[in-house]
Amino acid sequence: MESERTQEYLEAIYKRQRTEKPVATSTLAEDLKVSPPAVTDMLRSLESRGLIDYKASKGAILTGRGREQAVAVIRRHRLWERFLTDVLGMKWDKVHEEACKLEHVTSPEIEDGLSQVLGNVNTCPHGHSIPDKSGNIKEKGMSPLSKCQAGQPLCVSAIDREAPALLRKIEKLGLRPGIPVSIIKKNKDGTMDLEAGGKKISINGEMAGVLLVSPATRAKEGAVTGEIPLSKLASGHSGIIRTCGSGRSSLGRCLSLGFTPGSMVKMMENFSSGPVLVKVHDTEVALGRGLAEKITVYPNAKI
């Protein structure tokens, strides 16, 4: 196992890479609260061990091996965070710092034990995906709320910072991962008026930058049950597509027209025979009844 310092560097680079590639020395210095020359030294050493590609003028990118290491640490970190909140009942603003210490002293046995105790969880309390044991991480399509437009049905997916004060404020507003939100108004100073979980609230620019959201139709996991064929969905009702089980010849066309699992459909017209008319991905699409029978949906799913 790499040293604690190394692990922290890899972790920091991995997190930053999502938005910044390559990651600049100055960014890392800020994140890790170290002086830039110290960062440069460390990055050189990491490069010599084949964990990163580093160019002084540009910054660092993880190599395949570096990524592997980083993901392993992140897995332990997020499992610990989950354990601390779910099992020990700690607040979500406290667990990050504790997990930062624990992640470096976790043997593979303890890692397995944690994952067994926690069972089927796939995100940390702040909403980030936990990588699986072989290092696969299911990336979620997320954008900062500040970049989104008004009116879109959205859902809080994760919080991008672990600063305790900020997390407490976010919690006070009721903006936990999984909560549906939509922007009512974006103000010039960066603040926003939101509708979140049925309430109207205002948030400042900093918060808008760290709240990661995804389109609401994706926030379906575990929320609904009872699938029916699309052809049974009544006019005016909505559903979320579960499977697109049509035959080979039409599958490609169905997929490229947006009948993908997780997509929202609204039935516009469904008379007991003949083709149906649905709205999917913002356009109306006519479907032969035979095809509509092969697509299954979760009806009346809440968004």
């Binding site: 995804s214 389109p215 080979r248 490229s256 993908t260 997509s263 003949g274 991905h281 109306e284």
Partner: protein, 667 residues
């Protein structure tokens, strides 16, 4: 940029889904300097055009409309093959801002292929009417691809688009890193695994990684290609692996749409929930099973009324003023020449040209009406409301409208089958079209029935039409079940937003359709007219002694089975050039007997014989213009010849059957 004097040329491909206004963008960019041809080996139109700007010559290729780069149809295969193999310098993706979510899917695929990509965000105004606000800058910065807002039908933003094309072409390679889709490590590994089983030689000219993805997406054309090129044992491994990962197709599409939704969340402000757009409001009526059908009947009624009240008079006018006067001119000025020479010009050339010419006014109105319906977005609605009726024939709604057009003229009907995306359904529809009684056939039926049956003519006419439609259904079922095998395709189509028709676009489309008809069908019609003329005057300029008549007399025994004498048979044969010819030929052949058509018919025909004549007329082989159109659309002689042969058999069988039944029941 430093001024350069030498000419530089850029090849630009216009890509985009159907209903994004791509043709309007293309027409505005290239004006009338377009070339319309066919894609090599296909019957799909290829449009290219040239735009000159300073020292730049910009060659624009208009690709067929596609939702994705997976070959679900011939159009999609052409578009993606061009993008992959044709190496265009710059690709312009035309998107409909009002259905951004749907259109960005293609962009998700394009950014994996095209290093120089520009997005033309069309119909910004329509999106606005739909209650959406689009932020092109946000989209551009998130995608890291230039986005040019355009309102093509108001000619806005096209100048900027051209400037951007030049800029993009001049951009040093590698100066912009386009953000690719994150497929997640699981899918990425699967794709990589497939790619590792391939080699550049196997996938050439497609990129290896891209081919791997298309194999996983279940693209049949790529699958076939790789199976052919791969060593057998390697293919076995690959095929097994693809089988294990069948779900990858759905996963990849899902991830792309997740990516799309992320882009949309950044770039688009949606209308508040519960907002119903204008299009949706119209659709509640236009797609209703009963109201929608009534609307369809109304619209079709209007089109036929237009054709008959405007097209037919113009046709008559042309006939009188050009053909008749032309003939008079020939006979007047060439009287010193031998008679056969005069006849060659007057009866051969002029009447052949006349046939082509007289088609044009009718075709003009049909083509224009069709283009308008397409542009407004109505054809998809018509297909939707008629879908339920077409299943019996193994067809879906898209086949209905072309067939209905056939009542006017079979030629635009055959050309109209282009809206059908499944090749099998399209072929079936084309073969059924000649069974729809066109206006020419109806004219003959009406005249002959009126001349013979008097007051009962209307009943006879309606009976004949119902009979021919029943035959259409019957033949449709037979062709579907036994002749043209294959899975009948299901209806899946986008209903585009309605929009105000663009007169310029309709004009260009109509003009191009007519031009194509004259070019392709015109020569065939003229040639056949000349041959029939020749057969009619050899050996001694008297039609009663001609080869044509000889032939008629030769097949008289067959004619006798259906109660027809040789004059009637010859009249039917000449209907091959144009259905209306039957009447003219009858006039010439029976003219010697004196009296009008009605008396002559009553003298030589029994009611049973007239019935069989009418049945023969509606079922007889398609006219030469239709045959030419079938050849044009099916890309060879195989299907037009099939159509002629089976209708020949059908018409003989039908007429004999009707004659014998009518005789036995005492007519």
């Amino acid at each position: 940029m430093i001024e350069k004097t030498e000419e530089k040329s850029i090849v630009v491909a216009l890509a985009g889904a159907p209903n994004v206004g791509k043709s309007t963008v293309f027409n505005l960019l290239t004006g009338l300097s377009q070339h319309v041809g066919n894609w090599p080996g296909k019957t799909i139109e290829q449009k290219t055009g040239i735009l000159r700007r300073g020292n730049w010559t910009i060659n624009i290729v208009d690709l067929p409309g596609t939702y994705s780069l997976t070959a679900n149809s011939a159009e999609e295969q052409i578009a993606r093959d061009y993008l992959v193999k044709g190496n265009p310098d710059v690709v312009v993706a035309v998107l409909n801002a009002a259905s951004l979510e749907r259109n960005l899917y293609l962009v998700a695929e394009l950014i994996e292929l095209s290093p120089r990509l520009i997005i033309a965000l069309n119909m910004i105004d329509v999106a606005h009417h739909q209650g959406m606000k689009i932020n092109p800058e946000a989209l551009a910065s998130t995608l890291n691809v230039p986005v040019i807002p355009v309102i093509a039908n108001k000619n806005k933003g096209l100048k900027e688009l051209v400037e951007q094309i030049v800029l993009e072409y001049d951009r040093p390679p590698g100066s912009r890193e386009v953000k690719h889709i994150e497929y997640g490590s699981e899918i990425k590994d699967t794709i990589d695994h497939v790619a590792d089983l391939l080699t550049p030689e196997i996938t050439d000219p497609y990129p290896q990684h891209w081919t791997a993805m298309k194999l996983l997406e279940g693209d049949e054309q790529i699958n076939k290609l790789i199976r052919m090129r791969c060593p057998v044992d390697r293919w076995q491994i690959l095929d097994d692996y693809l089988g294990e990962n069948e779900s990858a197709a759905v996963d990849i599409a899902t991830l792309r749409f997740e990516w799309v939704e992320k882009m949309v969340a950044v770039a688009q402000e949606k209308p508040h929930i519960g907002w119903v757009s204008f299009s949706e409001r119209i659709d509640r009526a236009a797609t209703h099973p009963i109201v929608g059908l009534l609307i369809l009947v109304g619209i079709l009624g209007l089109i036929f009324w237009l054709v008959y009240s405007l097209g037919i008079p113009i046709q008559k006018f042309l006939e009188v003023n050009l053909i008749e006067k032309g003939r008079a001119l020939v006979f007047g000025n060439l009287s010193f020449m031998p008679l056969w020479f005069q006849s060659f010009w007057a009866d051969g050339i002029l009447s052949g040209v006349g046939t082509v010419l007289t088609f044009i006014p009718i075709l003009f109105f049909f083509f224009a009406a069709w283009a308008a319906m397409e542009d407004i977005g109505y054809t998809a609605r018509a297909a939707f409301v008629t879908d339920r009726f077409m299943h019996l024939l193994g067809l879906h709604g898209k086949s209905c409208l072309p067939l209905v057009l056939g009542f006017g003229c079979n030629v635009p009907a055959v050309l109209g089958t282009r809206i059908i995306d499944s090749p099998r359904a399209r072929l079936l529809t084309i073969l059924l079209t000649p069974l729809v009684p066109c206006s020419g056939r109806m004219a003959v039926i009406a005249i002959v029935a009126a001349a013979f049956f008097g007051s009962q003519a209307v009943l006879v006419c309606i009976g004949i039409i119902i009979f021919s439609l029943l035959m259409l259904v019957l033949i449709g079922i037979i062709l579907n079940r036994f002749i043209i095998r294959g899975e009948s395709s299901a209806l899946i189509m986008e209903l585009p937003l309605y929009h105000v028709p663009d007169a310029r676009l309709i004009g260009i489309v109509t003009w191009q359709s007519i031009l194509a008809f004259i070019k392709r069908a015109g020569t065939i019609i003229l040639a056949v007219s000349l041959v029939v003329w020749l057969l009619g005057i050899i050996p001694n300029s008297n039609i009663n002694d001609s080869i044509l008549s000889q032939f008629g007399k030769m097949i008289e025994p067959a004619g006798r089975l259906m109660g027809l004498n040789w004059q009637m048979m010859v009249a039917l044969l000449t209907s091959f050039i144009a259905k209306e010819n039957t009447i003219a030929t009858l006039g010439v052949l029976l003219g010697g007997n004196g009296g009008d058509l009605s008396q002559q018919l009553k003298q030589i025909m029994t009611p049973a014989a007239v019935l069989s004549f009418l049945v023969f007329q509606v079922l007889f082989i398609p006219c030469v213009a239709t045959v030419a159109a079938i050849k044009q659309e099916t890309g060879g002689w195989r299907w037009p010849l099939f159509s002629v042969a089976f209708q020949l058999i059908l018409s003989f069988a039908g007429a004999i059957l009707i004659y014998q039944i009518a005789r036995l029941t005492g007519f």
